[in-house]
């Protein structure tokens, strides 16, 4: 699987990301690094403990990283939950975390396929 195919699978913005970072090597290096990123786990855990200001920071981080890597769908989902968590209150819409989880898993699955060739 090529990098471009991987981006197609996770429905990300390959052209835009390559344009910004100027090097396919760099995009691939950082995209694969996302597998080690723990901000989603952190978000899930903070939500379950009811620590919403901690959850806000984790969501904010996930949003920034996915934006930088051009993971468009994950960015959109994490952006929504970030805004809902701003202020440190429990979000009214409980489906937001589910949405992030779904996109996160889609992204990770595509990246793992890329990593395994």
């Amino acid at each position: 699987m090529t990098l471009q195919e991987c981006y197609e699978k996770l429905q990300g913005d390959y052209e835009g990301t390559l344009g910004r970072l100027c090097s396919e090597k760099l995009v691939e290096k950082f995209a694969l690094k996302f597998l080690a990123d723990d901000s989603f786990a952190h978000l899930e855990e903070s939500m379950s403990r009811g620590n919403y200001s901690e959850a806000f920071r984790a969501a904010h981080t996930l949003k920034g990283v996915s934006l930088n890597l051009g993971f468009t769908r994950l960015h959109k989902a994490s952006d929504e939950i970030t805004e809902a968590l701003r202020g440190g209150e429990k979000p009214e819409n409980e489906a937001l975390l589910e949405k992030v989880k779904e996109e996160y898993e889609r992204t990770v699955a595509a990246l793992l396929e890329l990593q395994n060739g």
Binding site: R20, L21, G70
Partner: protein, 368 residues
Amino acid sequence: MRSKVLIVDDQEMNREILTAILEKDYPILEADGGRKAISMIQQHQDEIAVVLLDLIMPEVDGFAVLEVMRKQAWLKNIPVLVITAESKAGVESKCFEMGVSDFIKKPFDNAIIRNRVKNIVDLFSYKNQLEQKVEKQTETLKKQYKLLVMQAEKLKESNTKIIDILGTVVECRNLESGEHVKRVKNFTRILAEQMMEDYPEYGLTQDKIEVIVSASALHDVGKIAIPDSILLKPARLTKDEYEYMKSHTTRGCEVLNNVTDVWDETYSKVSYEICRHHHERYDGKGYPDGLAGDAIPISAQLVGLADAYDALVSERVYKSAYSEDEAFHMIVSGECGVFSPKLLECFRKVKKKFEALNQAQKQKQQQQ
């Protein structure tokens, strides 16, 4: 030379991407939080060209780092670019208020980031260089000014020295009034300071008074050209002798004209005025030129009165000393020269000071 870029972000991947974009152009420093950032800026404050700062970090956040940078006056020399994905309104303007130079927005864009960093680094390096230059020039100017002041001081010293030398000549020649010169100086100073306070129209300043006081020592310099037979005659002078005695004013001016090139113009001018005109009278009946009113230079008016007072309260070969009260009334009533009403007004005010000075000097003489 500042050349390093400090990247402050708790997110490792953000630091890595920014490093990858910038490391070809700048040495990179990294901090994973606000606290580490502050200690690194402190440690490397003369090497850091720009700080890239994330706002949202656990514990010490970006705003706290900015606050410290502002308080420590680091923001004056180190620009800050804020790394942000913030879409919240008001954050940008708050950042500008806190002294942030610009923003680096997510998603990171290689070309935009490189240009933005280069622009701000170049701008601040130019600004810092200009400031250094101005500082250096100010330093040089200060040094030059100090030198000028020293030279002026030296010039003043040599002017005073010339007057002292001439004054000593007068003293040596005119045996009876070795202390006279010093007393006239002190009376002149008291009177001049009162005039400065009450009548600003004469334009007296502390500096001008110093010149007048110093130059007053030369009021009788012409007496070195008067023969002892007249100068030290213990009896009333004949009319011819008196006329000759009066010529000490113009003879003094001849002496001064001979040294005129050696010293400062202010000193020679004031010395000349005093020497020539200290026997003029306010009503125009004095000598040598018969000047009237304020056509008589203020320096000569001041020394004229001081000289007259001292002559009255001192013992001379031809007369005994008058009491201080007698001397005061003789001057005020016009028995002993005619003076400007303004000058007499000041004289009345400083009567006590004149008397105290006279007493102190008498005591000093008795001790000797």
